[in-house]
């Protein structure tokens, strides 16, 4: 386990509430940027249908239209890692996917987005919270996703933001020098 994963696991265990879900893991997401569709999920515990279903669930939970599936695949990979390590989690995820698929006579993935969401918030609610608890970290803590949202992250290695736009906002007047003195 990486230090990163351990810290997150510990936090998620501690929080355990609505924010992060109970004891879900956000394992390191070893994906690299790739053109749309040019990636493949290699799953250890989940089958391909479960993987595809969970990816769509993650999209419903945190819908970002311009964010490619590859980033949501990171959530599936995180859940898969947890399922591989813990049979209870694997069973819970399998049950959750089954609950979605048996809610109507049509397989959940074949339903319209509106039907999918209604089922997810009904018989799929437990799964929704499980995926949400994982994705709030495994989706948004991915440095490639940061770039998509315009968050530049760590700055110490670049000498901070002092010369990299900390005060480059130009659509409002600059504050007076008493309120905001010039830098050294």
């Amino acid at each position: 386990m990486t230090l990163e994963a351990m810290n997150r696991r510990r936090f998620l265990h501690l929080t355990g509430g609505a924010a992060a879900g109970a004891a879900m893991i956000a394992a390191g997401v070893g994906l690299t940027a790739a053109p749309r569709g040019a990636w493949a999920l290699s799953l250890e515990s989940l089958d391909a249908h479960q993987g595809a279903t969970l990816l769509k669930v993650a999209r419903h939970v945190f819908p970002h239209d311009t964010l490619d599936d590859v980033y949501y695949a990171g959530v599936v990979q995180s859940l898969d890692g947890k399922a591989a390590a813990d049979a209870d989690v694997a069973a819970a995820l399998a049950d959750g996917v089954k609950a979605l698929d048996t809610a109507t006579s049509v397989p959940w993935l074949d339903l319209s987005d509106g039907y999918q969401l209604r089922i997810l918030e009904g018989p799929g609610e437990t799964l929704l919270h499980t995926v949400k608890g994982d994705a709030v970290v495994s989706l948004y803590n991915n440095p490639l996703v940061w770039r998509h949202f315009g968050y530049e992250g760590p700055s110490a290695q670049h000498g901070g933001y002092m010369n990299r736009g900390f005060d480059d906002l130009n659509w409002l007047p600059d504050p007076d020098e008493q309120a905001s003195p010039p830098s050294a």
Binding site: L14, A19, Y140, G165, D167
Partner: protein
């Protein structure tokens, strides 16, 4: 660094190395007093700090088991994490934002000023602003607070530009980049702020004051400090004369040791300090050490807090630069015509994308949430911090069954908002939103309080020994050689960030302890 014998009962044992304990230890050492400084956390260096929110959180935070109860939302969203504070040498001065404001004169006598507020256990401090002013001056000089001692203010970042313009258009007058214990120019052997944007994750330039690399090395240089990291105090022991005489602590390997002491100063923050006193109950002190008043652990305050984030049609990139160098102070007055007593400060705040996901609306999902996240780089933010009402029922107590890794009961933290807290927060949300609306906000987000960073009041200072735990010097009413040296001594919370006051009180307390030792009273 000095190494004192565990049986050396001439040492003062200070528990906790943050703003209170770290400062107190240095001040005592400078006066020639031998100090054993017990710190539960590890001894990191600036080089160890990480510009990454989750990793830094895992590195610095106090993550030992705690439980919560009450109607506060933290108990639902983060039931095992009532506070976002640190377990490390330097304590929460590794994590703090640097805002260093003096209390206002009336905030030391709020029972008199506000009158009887139903459900609140308000009490006047046994000291006033005039008593503390010389110590505030020493603290500001020590910490290098901007806009004091001829130190220029920090340059405003993008987040401040939005705040300043909105505030001015709204008619607010007191708006600037704050009084910050962050070097705007090199000072005291530390460099100037380089606008990293990771103040909360441990300052990698050392521009922000932290006891880790100011007070503690200065204390070590005297030869009077024995710093023991990864040494968690478990109980404070006492003799037949009802004087404390030592501290039992657990070392990194779990082995237990006892350090003898001439005096003991507890500075473990408002959860661990009362917990330590309660866990030190004995036949002579059946309700906990220094708890004849029954006030140990009571009157827990966490400040009225909340945040407003707003989205705009043009970029802000609020995360670049000093996190909290921006303040509007106009609402910090006591003006009951607003529908509440006390006041609040509005301070710039940003969190990175990972923490925004966790804290914007904990537990939320769907397009309302992701619309906000999609505009992260077009977002400005502020923190609202105001005086909350002390209530006896808001309390740190020992959990009846849950135990920590050393077999001691974990603390439970119970909190309910007082009606005054809700009225103030509502007003603050509205005013914060108005600031952003004045510069064209698309949408404002009222963000609930994070796990508490300002933890106060659980060993409060009182003139009357039946109403509080310590006297005006932080000296226990019940035990004359036992002191409390952190924010838990605050009688009331005031509107201002507490660290400067903790440091001023610690410097003042060191002076008192040294004098009492000279007089053979300790």
């Amino acid at each position: 660094m000095a190494k004192f014998d565990n049986n050396d009962d001439s040492v003062v044992v200070v528990i906790g190395s943050g703003a209170g304990g770290g400062t107190l230890a240095n001040e005592l050492c400078q006066k020639g007093i031998k100090v054993v400084l017990l710190e539960a956390g590890k001894h990191h260096t600036i080089a160890d700090f990480i510009n990454d929110e989750w990793n830094a959180f895992g590195q610095l935070s106090w993550l030992d088991k705690r439980t919560t109860s009450g109607t506060w939302r933290v108990a639902k969203d983060f039931p095992g994490l009532p506070a976002w504070i640190c377990k490390a040498v330097g304590g929460s001065t590794t994590h703090w934002a640097g805002a260093s404001l003096r209390f206002q004169e009336h905030e030391f006598r709020v029972r008199t000023e506000y009158g009887d507020v139903e459900g609140a256990s308000l009490l006047d401090w046994p000291i006033g602003l005039a008593d503390l002013e010389p110590w505030y001056a020493k603290a500001e000089d020590k910490m290098g607070v901007t806009r004091t001692n001829g130190i220029p203010g920090l340059p405003g970042n993008n987040n401040f530009k939005v705040m300043w313009n909105g505030a001015k258009r709204l008619g607010y007058k007191e708006v600037h980049t704050g009084r910050m214990a962050i070097n705007s120019r090199p000072r005291d052997g530390r460099g100037a702020c380089q606008q990293l944007g990771f103040c909360f994750q441990g300052c990698k330039t050392g521009a922000k004051w932290s006891t880790l690399y100011t007070e503690i090395p200065k204390a070590e240089a005297t030869g009077n400090l024995d710093l023991r990291p990864e040494s968690q105090a478990l109980t404070v022991t006492h003799n037949d004369q009802r004087l404390v005489d030592g501290v039992v602590y657990a070392a990194a390997d779990g082995s237990q040791h006892r350090q003898a002491a001439r005096a003991v100063c507890v500075a473990g923050n408002s959860f661990e300090s009362p917990r330590l006193l309660l866990n030190s109950a004995s036949a002579k002190f059946p309700d906990g050490l220094a708890n004849s008043s029954g006030q140990v652990g009571r009157n827990y305050m966490r400040h009225m807090t909340g945040s407003v984030y707003a989205t705009f049609d043009k970029p802000v990139n609020m995360y670049r630069g000093t996190t909290m160098a921006g303040i509007i102070s106009d609402e910090s007055v006591n003006d009951p015509s607003r529908g509440f007593v006390g006041g609040y400060e509005m301070e710039t705040l940003s969190i990175g994308l990972p923490f925004m996901a966790a804290f914007l609306d904990p537990g939320a999902y769907g397009s309302l949430f992701t619309d906000a996240m999609d505009r992260y780089d077009h977002m400005a933010g502020m923190w609202l911090v105001g005086e909350d009402m002390p209530q006896e029922s808001n309390a740190v107590t020992l959990h009846p069954t849950e135990k920590d890794q050393h077999g001691l009961p974990v603390p439970n933290v119970h909190f309910d908002d007082h009606p005054n807290d809700i009225a103030m927060r509502s007003h603050a949300y509205r005013q914060g939103s108005a600031v952003y609306d004045a510069v064209g906000a698309i949408r404002n987000y009222e963000v609930p309080p994070y796990p508490s960073t300002h933890n106060l009041g659980t060993n409060r200072m009182s003139a009357d020994p039946t109403r509080g735990v310590v006297n005006q010097w932080g000296q226990a009413h019940d035990v004359k050689n036992l002191f409390v040296s952190d924010g838990s001594v605050f009688t009331t919370g005031a509107a201002e960030n507490p660290t400067l006051t903790i440091v001023a009180l610690a410097i003042r307390q060191a002076d008192y302890i040294a004098n009492e030792m000279n007089r053979q009273m300790l």
